[in-house]
Each structure stands twice: as structure tokens, then as C-alpha cells.
Symmetry: C2
Subunit: 611 residues, 2 copies
């Protein structure tokens, strides 16, 4: 008799034998639950929550030791210790997920009504003949007027030119895609019309393929932003475009090429099911797209100049929502396809942050709420007493593993979790392979744990007398993994300089938060909800982040990690004209705080450097 | 003491010595007046009209012999016989002009108010700074709203991308071009904004460059349509595009390349004056264009399929007026430039004919009027009792000199005029050089004269007994110029086959006219005005055309030759939104008669073959 286990919010099911632990069940289901101690019950990283404990073992001694009574009372259990004897639903909190797992979680999607910007009509026209010589487009227009009450217009010759062949090749039947009264697509009846939502991050690009007739998500995929080759962060890319003739063109071509490949991959994924009758999906069926990114990514995508963005007072070329024809920027979509760009807020606070605010319904929150999206730039919005104030801080690429001695991106072999118990350091790597470096969440954990165990003071200095600290080449360092056990034969260390990089990054972020609170006349204690978006923000330990002072010290249950909210917002704006209009409304409402001209920034920043 | 002579309607002035003949004065002024007999006073081709004969010689014996009393009473004189003694104005009727001269005459332009589709604003914006971070486009939009009351939108990233640099490079001053509420151009203050009107004929392309701020015509130029290399007439080009992969692309690229070169040439002509302070004109300053052509030229320009145009029932892909962005068809104009295409009427009756109807105000005529545009296809519209009915006939390229034994286009050395007096044949060539061939007007003259002198019967057969007729290789022929006097050392002849080609061409044209008259229930005698447009139509002898039955036998003074009316119409639609709207109204109003399905066509055509 197999027992069914249901993992939420990931939505994975697995059937197991009676007596299997939740951790084992999770591994079988492909659900990544943290287990730094390898299932010994000592690290406490594998906490899960069970609403109903009827079909599981009672808390054992190990659990009673590691978990406090509040935890136990609220249904928290250790996955490695809990055995399953009957159907059970397991809630995996974000902090217990592995890094790779977390980046796949999209957070709770706001429910919204599917209101496609594209209306699809199937029409049968009367055949042209000697006594009825109306031209093809006018014949089609007349049918649309009869069927839809709208007067057709067409802005693309490449759409118009398809009409004569389609009509004559399909016995005068034709499927049309309308965007308002604009004819954006003509195709043989039954051709799927697709939509593509994209979040263009400085480092990563996330794409979603949807069916514009049903609103169904057909595929999703993440890729790297190839512009990285020309500069790690926004400022480096602006500098590249300034210093190189056609620099902007080079950067634009790189992202466009990647988006075209992403579209091909998404279509292949969507069509890769077992159903041999499944329709064929092609990028040329993409009729509508929503793309979001920070202001620089937005400008580089559209080929807009970024020079003025890189110089005070950091002004965008355009901030309003834009409808751009896909072919104008060489996207190989349907010839009439439109790319909708959500509005940029101001400075570097771009459409990606707006999209995150939309996806999390931040604009509808009562009380005091902070929504922040951690990336190479961190954008922060504070909602307080009906106001929305946003700022951007240059948090730099340290959280992505850059400028860190053994830093790496969250990939197989990266130390993603660190725990220090009794001055002994334990860690977990992504993919459970031998360690080859450390990623952002691991660095945060390590620093927080070093402070807790007294190896590091609040200025970030390492105590050379502490058993975990050793002398480095110039400054003290901590050995995370000795060469003998690493995957590359080198020691993996955390240096004083690494700590310094993180100090600068978290200092900037915290200073931004404090200045927003000041501007609104509230304090951290007033914050009712603290929403963290972005891949990195979703797999960090909030306790660690609070521990080192990156976030204010407010109750842990007020934090919410929501995954790639920017991507989800883009998808919502793609599938709902109402949500799209809401996004425009948010952009109009948000006030922008330029930190570089704030007199208090430097003081707040210096204060925020303390751990 | 020099005497001033004013030639009209060409509008040229010259200062001459007292006693100079009008013909000599015309030659000095560069005005081409026909003089088949070389100024001997025998041919009568150099008739001109003088309103005031106070300062010229009295009619001499030669004139009294050649001109009848009605002519003399209405001020008609022979230019070669009339000497000038004081300031005189000379009216040169179209029939007395040389071919090349006539193609330069644009006919009377209808006066219309300049109502530019482009509104030009000079704006000074407040500079962006830390306390005023509005994005550039929104800053510009606000200024446009204040100055013009319109809400700006921009459809082209290539326009948007110019704004940041222009603002910062010109102390926040900027010139904007608006088309309704669309931003189509941004430039440094003082940059001329240009317009280009083009008539794309199957054989020739005529371009006009205008200043969109003043409405002034800056330059005009005619070129050959390079698509000729792929097919002489419309059907040949449709066949080419059918038979060759990417055939349509090849044809589209050819005309686009030619238009881009034409734009460069027009700008060079416009800037070629003596004024060293004159502005620089560049194709990238062209912000609006109107292009007209027959339906096939229209489709090939836009890259629309022509296959269905070549097969019964000959249906266009689109017939409505279109606004196409210039960059969509690779025209190297201003990045936001719009190309407006006037509507196609139906079948092959395209925007060029509509443009001709507009330029001649045919749609406003009372009574019975025929307007026709002779080309490789001839389009004819009949106005009668408030109805407008149009048809198209395949008149073929014979009038352009093609398929004619010694045929050539109207160029230097072409016999353009022929006269037979006392069975002696005289001719005049373009450029007064040794003859190398015969062009359309010469062929028409020759045939009409051969019929008059009895060398040809009404079936087109040459009488071998007539002194001007000799035996040809297979059939009889007429020697026009013997090898000894030609420019190429060969006899120039007119053959029975040549006559046959012209018979077919004029038969088709006449049959179209008769079927239109039938359809409207009127007869040729009812025709109040007969308007002939097109280069060829403007330099033929109307008497000759009536003589061989190409046109119905109505009084000569009801004919009006108006030159390149299609080009003039395009220019009017470019410079006047009212005229542009009028054109759309004409297209809606014209009824189309498809001759290929008319049962009477064959009978009328056979009848019309008679000379």
C-alpha cells in the first residue's frame, strides 16, 4: 500500500511506503529541503509544517531538543525525523528549501481574471469573384465589423501581406488576432496564438510562454543575461555603451538574440509533451509580449541611449508604458506582435520593480509595508499611510557571488547554507555535490553564524583568536571547506574582504530602507509586512539577514519571500488588461526618492555598515 | 535695348534684340517649340497665341496661307514668322511644344490651401535636475501639451532615442514634428522638415521635394523605374514575381533603392542654389511622403503579394488609403517618417489614377467629362450625371516605343513629329539631332498623316502603290528617314506590324471609352471635357489621336492635356490634409467597370481597331 504525500506550495505529489521520513519523501519527489547536517537532526534546517499530524510519528527526542514549544505547537516538525504512516500534506516554508528549489517557487500568485489584450476571431469570408471585387483587406474588415463591431486597421505590411495567401489557401477561412481595432495577426484557423512574458534582470532573464486563447502557462525558462559579458552591473554596461562606438547596439543585439533563443526554447518546451496531437508552437505565433526590467535593461532592450542614465541627475529617456512593435527591435515574433513595456518609475527603479509591486499587490496594502527586490541593484518601496515611496540602492553583485574570494552563483557545488554549532562549521551545497565555492545565501549564513559564535565583531572584524579564524594572506579568514573535500582541490574560505563586500551591499540596502521609513515618518517597528522578491531574496535565510542588520529587526513572521515576483507581474500584465492598467496606475502613484542627493544617506549608510 | 519676352504657361523669360522671331527667342529661352519644317513656315507646327500683338510684326503671306481666318482672329501666329519689336507675352499651346518640353509642363495646378499634415513646434524645456527628475519623453510631452494641447505619443524607438542627445546638445531647445498626436520627428531648432511626393509609374517615377513648413516645392526630378529590368509592363512583373523565388522582394528592393537615390538627388537639387547660407537638405529630414502608383506598383512597393492581382478576378490585397512607416519598407527617411498611400480604386485602377482625378478636380466636374491617364496601362474615368465610373485597359508599351521596329522612348534623336505635305514626309527630332528612332508621338503623327494622304486605309493596311510606301522584308513599310541622314546609319521605317501594335493599343483604349459611355448612358457627343494626363498623353497631337480613332471625334477645344497630373495630385495630398481627405472620398465614390468580364468588350474592341 503506497501512501500519498503532498508538498506545498510547490505542488508536488509522491507515493511512498509507510515509515518513510518526510525528508526521504521530499528527495523522491524532487522537492529540495535543506538538510545541512545530512539528516542527523542537529541542524534544524529541515523544518516543515504539518496542519494535520494524524498520520505521522510523534515528535522524537531530537525534535524536542531542536524545536521550541512554540514551534511544536504551531505544527513545525523536522523533516528528517518525522515518519509518515498515512496520507499527509507537508508545507515547506521558503527558509527550509534549497536554493535551487526556491528559485523555482513563484510565490503565491494573486488570482486575477484572464482578460486577454488579444481577441481571436475565426472568420469565413465570401470568395472574391468577378461580381464582387472587394480587395482582401477590405473584405476581411467588413467581416470583422459584422462579427466584432470594430473598424479594422493594420499597422504592419508584413501582416497585410499574409492575407491573400491565407484566404486562398484555406477556402476563405481565416483566424484573426485583434488588439483593440488593430489587426495584429492572421493565421490558418486553429493556429495557437501565444504570449511571452519576460523579466530581464541584470544577471538573469526569466521567460514565460502562455496561450493567449486560454491564458494557460505553457512553459517557463530562465537564462543568463548575455550582456554580462560586457559588464556585470548596470553602471558597467552604461560605461561600456559610452566607451565603445555602437556599444548600445552591441548590448541591444546581445539581449535580443537571447530573447529570440528563449522564445524558441519556450516553444520547444511547450510542445514537448507526450501528446502527439499537441499543436506546434513557434515564436512566429507570439502576438503579444510584456517585458520588464530595470531602467537600464529597459533602455538597452529598446536601443534607447543610456548615457544620461549614468550621469547625475540619472534621468530616463522615457518612463511611460510603451507599446513597441516586436519587429522594430528585431524580435522574431509574429509580424504584427506588440511588446508592451511596463512603466519605469524613476532613476533606476524600473518596470521590473513596478511589476513586482503589481504581483504582490503592494499597492493595495493597508498599514506599513516594505517591498524589496534584491539584485545587483535593489529597489525598495515603502507603503505607509496611503503613500508609496521608492528608491534604488546599488547593492552590487556580491550577493551573486562576484567580488567574493570563492564566490559563485547559485549553481551545483555552491555552499548555500552554513551552520556553526559548538564552533564546528557545517554546510550544505546545491546538488549535494562536493563544494566548489559559496553563493550569496551561504555567505549571508556564514557571516551571521560567525557573528553569533563570536568569531566576528559588529564591525565585521574577524577575531584571530577564535578557533574558526585563521591567518590569511593579508587579513584573517575563515576556512569553510578544506581542499581535501572540495570539488576543485582548493580551500574554500571566507575572507575579511568578502565580509567587507557584504557590509557595503547590506549597508546600502539598509540605508535605503531607513531613509524611506524616515521620509514617511514611520519606524521599522511599524512595518506590518516585509516582502522580499527576486531569486536571491527568496533563498536567503531571513534570520541571517536580520542577524547581520541587512533587514530591520522585526518579527520573522512579518517577512514574506515571494520568488520572482517581477516575472509573475509581467505575466499578469500579459494576461489581464485590468492588471496592466493597474500597473500604469501604480507608476503614476509612486513617489521616487533619489538617495544620491539625500543628505542623510551617507550617515545612514555608515551606521548600516555595522553588523 | 533688350526686349523682354514672356513664355507661358512654362513661365520662362528671355531678353532679346528687336526683330528676333518668336521661334528664335524660344530657342534662346530653352522653350521647345515644334518646327518640323525647320522654320520655313510650311509645317504650321509652331503655332503660338498672342493676346496682344502691338509689339510684333503683322501676319505675313506665309502665315496667311497656313493659318485660317479663325486662327488669325483668335491671335494664333507662326512662331517662325513673327518678329518681336517690344515686350510680348507668348502663349505656347501644348500641341506646339516639343515632346521633352511637354513632359516638363505640369499643367495648371489647382489652387489649394497649404494645410500641412505635420505641425512643427519649437520648444524650450526646463533642464532636468535632482529636484526635477521627469524622464525626457515625458518632459517633452508636458511641453507639447502646454504648447499644443495634445497628448504626445511616439511609435518609433528611433525617434525616441534621439531626444536625450538633442536636448543636452541644444541647451534643452528642440524642434518637434507632430502628425496628429504622434511625435514623428525631433531635431535641432531650424532643421528644415521635408516632404516627398512620388508618382511611381510602370516606366517612369516622378519625385517632388517640398518644405513642410512653407509648402514650397524645393525640387523635382524624374527617373526610370528600375523594375523595367524585370518586366516591361505590369503583367510581366507579376509573372516575374510568380516565377522567381523572392521575386516580389527583388522588385520591391529595386524600387526602394531607386526612391532612396531619388531622395538624395532631390535634396542635392534643392540645396544646389547660389545661396551659401541655404540650409542643408537631407533625406533624413523627410518626415512625410505621399506615393501613388497603379495597384501593382503600389503592392510591389509595399511588398504585398501580386499573384492574386494577376489572376481573375484580379483582386487587390488592400485598397484603402494606408499610412506606412517609411522604415518598414527600408526608405531611408526620418526615423518616424510616414508614407501615405492614396487608395486604390479597383483592379489595376490604382492610386495614381485617383491622384490624377484629384489633381484635375475631375470629381467636382458638372456635365460629362472623361479623364484618362495613358501609360502601359491606361486608366479612364467617366463623370456623367453625378456618377464616376472607371476602367483600366492594357494599352501596352507601344506608345513608349516598345515592340515598334524602330521605336524608342522620347529621348534625343527620337522622331517626335511627322508631317506629310504633297506626299513628302518631314519630321522633327527631340533635341534637333540626327534621327535614331521614333517615339510614341511620332508614331501617332505618322499613322495619322499616312491615313490623311491615302497611304494607309482604315484597316491599317499600307497601299504599296503609294509613293511613300515600299516593300518591306515581309510586309509593306514606310521609310521615315534614310540611312544616309540617320544618326545610326540605318533606315528608320514604320512597318505594317508597327501600325498593328498601335491599332491594338488604341483599340483597347477606345473600347474602354465606349464601354464607359455606354455604362453611363451617354454618347461621345455629350462629352464636355476630355482630360488627358501622363507624359505621353501630354505630348501627342490630339488631332492625330482623333484622326486614327484613338479618341472619339469631338471638337478639339474640348481636349485638355494636363501633364503629370498623378504627380501633382500626390503633391497636393502631401501638402493639404483637405485634399488628402478629398482623395479618400473620390475612391469611395468611383464605380469600377471590369472590362475583362464585359460581354461587349470584344465587339467594341474589334470596332475600335479601325482607323
Amino acid at each position: 500500500m503506497k501512501i500519498e504525500v503532498d508538498f506545498q506550495p510547490i505542488g508536488k505529489h509522491v507515493e511512498i511506503d509507510s515509515g518513510t521520513t518526510i525528508l526521504e519523501a521530499a528527495q523522491e519527489a524532487g522537492v529540495g529541503i535543506s538538510a545541512i547536517c545530512g539528516g542527523a537532526g542537529s541542524c534544524g534546517a529541515c523544518r516543515v509544517r504539518l496542519d494535520d499530524q494524524e498520520h505521522v510519528s510523534k515528535p522524537n527526542e531530537t525534535e524536542i531538543k531542536v524545536l521550541d514549544s512554540d514551534d511544536l505547537a504551531s505544527g513545525i516538525r523536522l523533516a528528517c525525523q518525522t515518519e509518515i504512516y498515512g496520507p499527509t500534506r507537508v508545507d515547506v516554508p521558503p527558509e527550509s528549501m534549497t536554493a535551487t528549489q526556491r528559485t523555482q517557487v513563484e510565490g503565491e500568485e494573486i488570482s486575477f481574471e484572464f482578460e486577454s489584450p488579444i481577441k481571436i476571431l475565426d472568420l469565413t469570408l465570401t470568395k472574391a469573384e468577378a461580381i464582387d471585387l472587394q480587395a482582401d483587406f477590405e473584405r476581411l474588415s467588413a467581416a470583422v465589423l459584422t462579427n466584432n463591431g470594430s473598424t479594422l486597421h493594420c499597422r504592419r505590411m508584413n501582416v497585410l501581406k499574409q492575407i491573400p495567401g491565407l484566404l486562398r489557401g484555406n477556402k476563405w477561412k481565416i483566424q484573426v488576432g485583434l488588439r483593440g481595432d488593430e489587426l495584429v495577426s492572421v493565421s490558418a484557423p486553429g493556429t495557437p496564438l501565444l504570449g511571452m512574458a519576460v523579466d530581464i534582470g541584470t544577471t538573469k532573464v526569466a521567460g514565460y510562454l502562455v496561450d493567449m486563447a486560454s491564458g494557460k502557462t505553457l512553459a517557463l525558462k530562465g537564462i543568463m543575461n548575455p550582456q554580462i559579458a560586457y559588464g556585470e552591473d548596470v553602471m558597467a554596461r552604461i560605461t561600456y555603451s559610452l566607451m565603445h562606438e555602437n556599444g548600445s547596439d552591441v548590448l541591444q543585439k546581445a539581449i535580443i538574440h537571447a530573447l529570440n533563443e528563449l522564445a524558441v526554447d519556450l516553444c520547444a518546451l511547450a510542445g514537448a509533451g507526450d501528446d502527439t496531437d499537441a499543436p506546434v508552437y513557434l515564436p512566429t505565433q507570439i502576438v503579444e509580449s510584456v517585458m520588464v526590467g530595470n531602467t537600464a535593461m529597459h533602455h538597452l532592450l529598446l536601443g534607447l541611449p543610456v548615457e544620461q542614465l549614468g550621469l547625475s541627475p540619472y534621468v530616463a529617456a522615457v518612463s511611460s508604458p510603451l507599446d513597441v512593435k516586436a519587429d522594430e527591435i528585431d524580435l522574431a515574433f509574429s509580424p504584427g506582435a506588440t511588446v508592451h513595456l511596463l512603466a519605469n518609475i524613476a532613476g533606476f527603479v524600473g518596470a521590473d520593480h513596478l511589476s513586482m509591486l503589481l504581483a504582490t499587490d503592494t499597492h493595495k496594502k493597508k498599514g506599513v509595508v516594505i517591498s524589496l527586490d534584491i539584485g545587483t541593484n535593489t529597489e525598495i518601496t515603502l507603503v505607509a499611510h496611503g503613500r508609496m515611496i521608492a528608491c534604488s540602492t546599488a547593492s552590487g553583485p556580491a550577493f551573486e557571488g562576484a567580488h567574493i574570494h570563492d564566490g559563485m552563483r547559485a549553481a551545483d557545488g555552491a555552499i548555500e547554507r552554513v551552520q556553526i554549532v559548538d564552533n564546528k562549521l557545517a554546510f550544505q551545497t546545491i546538488g549535494h555535490t562536493a563544494p566548489v565555492g559559496i553563493c550569496g545565501s551561504g555567505i549571508l549564513d556564514a557571516i551571521a553564524q560567525l557573528k553569533l559564535c563570536g568569531a566576528m565583531n559588529e564591525k565585521g572584524a574577524l577575531d584571530v583568536k577564535h578557533p574558526l579564524v585563521r591567518k590569511g594572506e593579508k587579513l584573517p579568514e575563515v576556512l569553510l571547506a578544506a581542499a581535501a573535500i572540495t570539488g576543485n582541490g582548493h580551500d574554500i574560505v571566507l575572507t575579511r574582504s568578502d565580509i567587507n563586500e557584504i557590509q557595503l551591499a547590506k549597508g546600502a540596502m539598509r540605508a535605503g530602507i531607513e531613509l524611506l521609513l524616515d521620509a514617511a515618518g514611520v519606524t521599522a517597528a511599524d512595518v506590518d509586512e516585509f516582502i522580499i522578491a527576486g531569486a536571491f531574496g527568496s533563498y536567503i535565510s531571513v534570520e541571517a539577514a536580520v542577524g547581520i542588520g541587512m533587514f530591520p529587526d522585526i518579527p520573522i513572521d512579518r517577512f514574506r519571500q515571494v520568488g520572482n515576483a517581477a516575472g509573475i507581474g509581467a505575466k499578469q500584465a500579459l494576461l489581464s488588461t485590468t492588471r496592466r492598467a493597474e500597473a500604469a496606475g501604480i507608476a503614476d502613484r509612486v513617489e521616487y526618492l533619489e538617495l544620491t542627493v539625500s543628505e542623510q544617506f551617507q550617515a545612514q549608510f555608515l551606521k548600516a555598515l555595522y553588523m
